[in-house]
Amino acid sequence: MKSGTWLLRLALLLLFLGLFFGFLASFAYRLTDAKSGMLGFLTLRPLHVSSAYFGVVLGGLACVTLAIQKETVKRISFNLLKIHLFLWLITLVGIFYSYFTGDFGGREYWEFKPIWALPILISYFVFLLFYLKNAGSYKNWPVYKWMWFTGIVFFSFIFMENYLWIFPYFKEHLMADMTIQWKVNGSIVGAVNQMIYGLAFYLMTKISGDEKMGQSKLAFAMYFLGLFNLMFNWGHHIYILPTDRYIHHISYIVSMTEWIILIRIFYNWNQQLKENRTHYYFFPYRFLMAADYWVIINLTIALFMSIPAFNLYTHGTQITVVHAMGTTIGINTMMVLAGAFYFIKPAFESLKALKRMSMVFWISQITLFLFLATLTGMGIQRALWQAGITEGVFGQMMQNSRPWMIGFIITGTLLFASLGSVVLYLLFYSFKEKVSFRLHKKD
């Protein structure tokens, strides 16, 4: 149990750091040059992105560990979990050292030296071993166990693919190299989503008490649709890249299958509202509910951005960031927080404390919405300039975005304060109360 809890604490710490570095980066973006001091924008952006990304990844792994540990765990597997945690600690120390000393050499989202990727890859193999030993027979797996398995296997494969560029065969062909780079960045998000959405499905099953939910044909159909998109829809990141046309066409067609998910959400709308009313005061559910609504917003944006003619004008603008941040904060972080509330089980000492947390929850949701709105404003400004609708050089366009930028900094600060306080509350509470799970050791 300890390894799972420590993994969750590490995830919460990283999420907090992700928010903190993001808060600093927003000021650096506006006020200083990119290299000023030790923490210029060149350092802060990788620190922000890696902390937030690994916070989500580790949050997913931690909750899967805790969920598996709630069932049965073989004694030998505790050592696997310790090795897994140790490997993550090594890699995080290496990555942060690499960033703070300005020792870059990696690529966007993975700016650290490739050597620090090795412990992550090994940790995934170790975790796969742990999972296969303890998740029971695959024949009886509910859909969320399939999703977790998919997340682990595909993250491992795609993460290896992420480093093909170190071989001259790939690196010396610019277009093949960029195609693979964005194949990785697109599909690895899908692999992480499998872990996180699997967690959401697990939590819903436990909250509703309806175990059959995880075996339904519809749930499996949605899982395979997600897997299909993970594999083949990443090409919408590179519609403008002069690579093979078939990649663009496959991506366009596959991406459009996600309308099915959006239609299903609206089909179940009344059921959704009923559930919201029933479980509203249970905090794990509250964060799942928030994630559900962010899914609608982000999926709608993603669907439009997957249409090449639309993508032509939004690509390379902050509208892409709206989608990326909306997904990372609105969906993934909310689901990890739901998992953290479920497993840490913080008890609110009074009605006042409950109301305070409720208020912080709503402030974080509203500020996130406003934060994304300011980014959209910046994105539209840039899109109009790129399309030649507004005139001027790049610097003028940036200057015209100033009001949006100030709004972005203000809402970003509020988001850091509100969401950061939820993360810190959970982190401190995880030390205050012993997590009370009973373990059933097989041997």
């Binding site: 990119a34 870059f104 093909l164 062909h173 277009m175 663009h248």
Partner: protein, 144 residues
């Protein structure tokens, strides 16, 4: 009529095999387009990409719209009127606006410029050079 029941494992394996075939088709791209550039030029532009990565240029700049937002897209920067090697070297060495000065060796500077020139030769990242189609796609205009 009863539905055919297929186990999740079979669907998972089928999709995974298709994904692997798709992935390897992409991995073979350099082999299919082996002679697209001179070998020496390819090696030098790859070294230039290392310089790009080492100095974290993508944090602020984009290539084909992929990267940061603080600076402009540099896909076709070497083709812009007035953006000669001397001018670009001066900007990189001295900085401009929020862009800091970078202390590159002569070799690094040459490699980086070759990389940017090679990138320019691959195509255009300017949305104004494309036309949208009724089926939701877009095509490159004839720029001649």
């Amino acid at each position: 009529m009863p539905l055919i029941k297929v186990s999740p494992l079979k669907i998972f394996i089928t999709l995974s095999v298709l994904f692997l075939i798709y992935s390897f088709t992409i991995y073979l791209k350099p082999l299919r387009e082996k002679d697209h550039q001179k070998i020496a030029y390819q090696k030098q532009s790859a070294s230039g990409k290392d310089v790009w990565q080492k100095h974290n240029c993508h944090t602020c700049h984009q290539l084909y719209g992929l990267g940061g937002y603080l600076g402009p897209d540099l896909t076709n920067v070497t083709a812009k009127p007035g953006y000669s090697d001397v001018f670009l070297k001066a900007i990189i060495s001295n900085g401009i606006s929020q862009m800091p000065a970078f202390d590159l060796t002569n070799r690094e500077m040459e490699d980086l410029l070759v990389f940017l020139k090679a990138m320019n030769e691959t195509g255009t990242a300017n949305p104004r050079h494309y036309s949208t189609q009724i089926n939701g796609t877009f095509t490159l205009d004839n720029l001649e």
